[in-house]
């Protein structure tokens, strides 16, 4: 039962059509979730007793950071699927994740730096989470750079897929080594507003923003993936049906 679903999803015309239908739903739900999260986070939630109002940056910083890693995971999963089953749909999804993931990483870095300024007094202090995000940015750039350097789309797909898999295996190791390094040198850490110590009025909007960002990611991913798929399908008949329309 799951197999038939998997194979249908992997079939390009099906994916193209279903993705097209899902995009508006994801987009609207994303907007609603983010709106709710923003109202809850910016207006309704109380000020933090340690950081005052400045902590509200977490409502964009944390979702961006989470999504930057989720995008990489989805990219690696899609890449692995493409390698194993030689699926164009999977390769299209993997290729689409990279620019979106990079954007999330940049947002996380910039907002993290802006959050750090009032807390540490400088815009950057080698906090382990920010350093890990920076390395994640390089992983994304390496992936996109490799893709761009290879002319043949098929080889680019496979090579970057392998790189994504190598990267995803390395990510926990890199993360652990950066944490280890930071603990040695008593570096600054962005205060982790842990869930037990955060009242619901603070973390419910956060969850809403995270969900909103996830839905946003889904929407933009599907838009891009459809385009990527069109580039890969050479002479398939279904293209005529799709592209023949305006």
């Amino acid at each position: 039962m799951a197999w038939t679903w998997f194979h249908r999803f992997g079939s390009p015309p099906h994916f193209y059509r279903i993705a097209g239908k899902l995009v508006p739903w994801f987009a609207v739900l994303a907007a609603l979730a983010c709106l709710g999260g923003l109202i809850g986070g910016l207006v309704l939630a109380p000020a933090d007793h340690l950081q005052g109002e400045g902590y509200r940056i977490i409502y964009v910083h944390v979702p961006a950071a989470i999504l930057s890693m989720m995008a990489y995971a989805v990219m690696a999963l899609a890449a692995g699927t493409g390698l194993i089953w030689r699926m164009n749909v999977a390769y299209a999804v993997a290729a689409s994740c990279a620019p979106i993931g990079t954007s999330f990483t940049l947002i996380a870095l910039i907002t993290g730096s802006l959050w750090g300024r009032p807390m540490w007094g400088t815009y950057w202090a080698w906090d382990p989470r920010l350093t890990s995000e920076l390395l994640l940015l390089f992983l994304y750039l390496g992936y996109m750079g490799l893709r761009a350097a290879i002319e043949d789309t098929a080889r680019a797909d496979r090579a970057s897929a392998l790189l994504a898999l190598v990267g995803v295996v390395n990510l926990p190791i890199i993360h652990y080594s950066v944490d280890w390094w930071n603990s040695l040198h008593q570096g600054h850490t962005l205060l982790k507003l842990g869930r037990p110590s955060m009242p619901p009025s603070m973390y419910v909007p956060l969850i809403a923003m995270i969900i909103g960002f996830m839905l946003y990611f889904g929407a933009v991913l599907l838009v891009r993936a459809r385009g990527e798929l069109l580039r890969r399908e050479r002479t398939a008949r279904w293209l005529l049906d799709v592209v023949g329309e305006a």
Partner: protein
């Protein structure tokens, strides 16, 4: 209201954060749609150039 806008004195960090986030997210949407549109046009051109199959 003014107090809320000033974010307890941290306004110059909080609001740019949100602004940049919004900007990047919006650019992503535009970028994605542009890429999809270009791919469609390319696919159309490619199909037009091929000899029609049986």
């Amino acid at each position: 209201m003014l107090e809320w806008l000033s974010m307890g004195g941290n306004a110059r960090f909080v609001w740019p954060s949100y602004a940049i986030t919004l900007l990047v997210l919006w650019l992503n949407i535009r970028w994605a749609r542009q890429a999809a549109r270009t791919s469609r046009a390319e696919a159309k051109r490619r199909l037009a150039m091929q000899p029609s199959d049986s």
